[in-house]
């Protein structure tokens, strides 16, 4: 009997252990419980282009995003109005001669103006591809999913126009349902893949910068289909990107009368910020400064009125820095220095263009040396443009940016000397050619 009693006890223990294990395994295999903190008002379908529908569930975020339509306050070097870069600094007309950027080049406005502004810009013409809509609309994720990016890019701009009704919105960065941040631009997905990276393994903090790279990156178009591609295979630093373009033999245009195979840089904010800037190293994400966590009544949320942190330093910088007056003064200091350094680089580039143009017109010029000068100029101008087209006037990574400008100036002067050497003409060493141009350059219509 005693023996039986032990066995019965053991039986009960085993049975209970089995039941407990069974219940636990059953529970583990249940679908994860949805967080019920937010009762959703409407169900948003995947890749819904209309942000106002998402906005019914997220009124604060939507209301703040809408402010980007009317916010037009400028900072010293940037801001959100549509001022003309060509009027403010006519050197750009010379530097972009032969390329549509010399026709019209305006500062970017807020996200909600993206479609309106791209449809109005003079750079777009009958030969423009739909690729230029890639970063302008929340219609894109659904269109890319439907037709694939290659077919999208192969379509003409004018043919795509009817499909593009919504400016940049929720669907460009968020997954409907979970609301998590996602990479929606196939070009970014491909570029990360080429580097052996998968954004699905990124931390939340990394995603709060990577989604900005859906658009705020350097890119170029591949082949006749004008397929959007980021030159990131070898890395995202300036020398790696230049090497990538040189290996490829890629050019955006040829500068008239010089034979220089030019490259145009486009807003490489992500590359600049992540190239070891102090804020990036400290774990700060783009959204921390450009979309600060704000309070409305008792509710707190990330502001979707994406703008310069200088327009509200208390809210943006003040999260970490206590003395925002000092911080803003420091930013001004950095930007002023970068600005004058950038203008010096432009003067050097214009002198180099002038020298190469004259050497090209000289039938006795040494062709090998002249080609060397052209290649130097191509790299020098791309370096300068990598800074100039970047929307922070140096602040996203001051040391790195000043180094790039120093390299650009150095290389431009070397290109000028090489051209002078090629032509055997010391008058090509003229400095300050820009200030002698008469009449001064103006953007042509």
């Amino acid at each position: 009997m005693k023996r039986y009693g032990t066995w019965i006890l053991v039986g009960i223990i085993v049975l209970l252990a089995a039941v407990l294990s069974g219940v636990l395994i059953f529970l583990k295999n249940q679908p994860p419980q949805q967080r019920a903190a937010l009762p959703l008002i409407v169900e948003v379908k995947p890749m819904e282009p209309d942000s106002s529908i998402w906005g019914r569930n997220f009124p604060n975020q939507w209301a703040s995003l809408q402010k980007t339509a009317t916010n037009n306050t400028d900072t010293i070097y940037g801001g959100s109005s549509k001022w003309s870069h060509l009027e403010r600094d006519p050197r750009l007309v010379v530097l972009f001669t032969g390329y549509p950027f010399s026709k019209e080049y305006n500062d970017d406005r807020g996200h909600m103006n993206s479609v309106k502004d791209v449809n109005a810009i003079k750079r777009v013409n009958a030969t423009t591809h739909a690729t230029c809509y890639s970063c302008k609309s929340s219609n894109n994720p659904a269109l890319w999913a439907q037709m694939g990016m290659e077919a999208y890019d192969a379509t003409m701009f004018s043919d795509m126009k009817p499909n593009i009704q919504n400016p940049i919105g929720c669907a460009n960065c968020h997954e409907a349902g979970t609301m998590r941040l996602i990479v929606t631009n196939p070009a970014l997905e491909n570029a990360l893949k080429a580097q052996g990276k998968d954004w699905r393994t990124f931390t939340r903090q990394e995603m709060r910068s990577v989604v900005c790279a859906n658009c705020h990156v350097e890119y170029y178009f591949v082949g006749d289909k004008k397929v959007l591609t980021l030159p990131w295979k070898d890395g995202t630093r300036i020398d790696q990107i230049i090497k990538y373009y040189d290996d490829l033999g890629f050019k955006d245009w040829e500068y008239p009368g010089t034979g220089i195979q030019m490259l145009k840089a486009q807003h490489p904010e992500y590359e600049m910020f992540t190239a070891g800037s102090t804020h990036s190293k400290a774990g700060v994400a783009c959204a921390d400064c450009h979309m600060p966590y704000v309070r409305d009544g008792a509710a707190k949320y990330s502001s979707h009125e994406v703008k310069s942190p200088l327009l509200d330093p208390e809210q943006s910088c003040g999260q970490c820095h206590t003395d925002t007056t000092y911080v803003v003064a420091r930013v001004n200091e950095i930007q002023n220095q970068v600005n004058v350094t950038q203008l010096a680089a432009e003067d050097a580039l214009i002198d180099s263009i002038n020298a190469i143009k004259q050497a090209t017109a000289n039938p006795n010029a040494d062709a090998t040396k002249l080609d060397e000068a052209r290649e130097m100029h191509r790299d020098a101008q791309f370096m300068w443009d990598f800074v100039s087209a970047e929307n922070s006037m140096g602040f996203h990574n001051p040391e790195y940016i000043l180094k790039i400008l120093a390299d650009a100036t150095n290389l431009a002067r070397q290109a000028q000397m090489k051209a002078s050497d090629a032509a055997g003409d010391s008058t090509l060493l003229q400095v300050g050619y820009y200030y002698t141009i008469n009449p001064p350059p103006t953007p042509f219509p």
Binding site: V10, A18, L20, S21, L24, M179, T201, T203, A298, K300
Partner: protein, 161 residues
Amino acid sequence: MSKPPVVIAIVALTVALGVFAWATNATAYLGHNPSTCNNCHVMDAAYENWYHAAHQRFADCNECHLPHQNIVVYYLYKGYSGMKDVLSFASGSYPVAIRAEPLTRQIVQKNCIRCHEGTVNNILAGAQPFDRQCWDCHRTVMHGERGISLTPYQDKEVYTK
């Protein structure tokens, strides 16, 4: 009493314990990942507000909320505090507005000093009695301004890291 039944019982209990640890991800509670603390949805606002405030990049929950004088005290308090949270969550007896209790306040205060000692040494050694708490004045540094977080994006199902 013969041996086999005892062995069988021990094996069964060990297996059950193992399944328990696996199914509840129990080992995570020995660690210091803030999203583990946020397994309880009542921590949404505390988590989200901490995430967006200045300390996120330097101090996780445990840095401030657990005592750090030695590993024994650390894990004893972690166990006590965690079980208390489990009990109050399971029984629904937690308050609507969760506030730090006196013992927690002592611990947090010590942790403020642990990191910021160089800055506050003069105050600690000063003639005035040091009877207030850092956050009586520095109200927003840990969890930002008071307010409820609207969007708890921190779901583990959404972000794995």
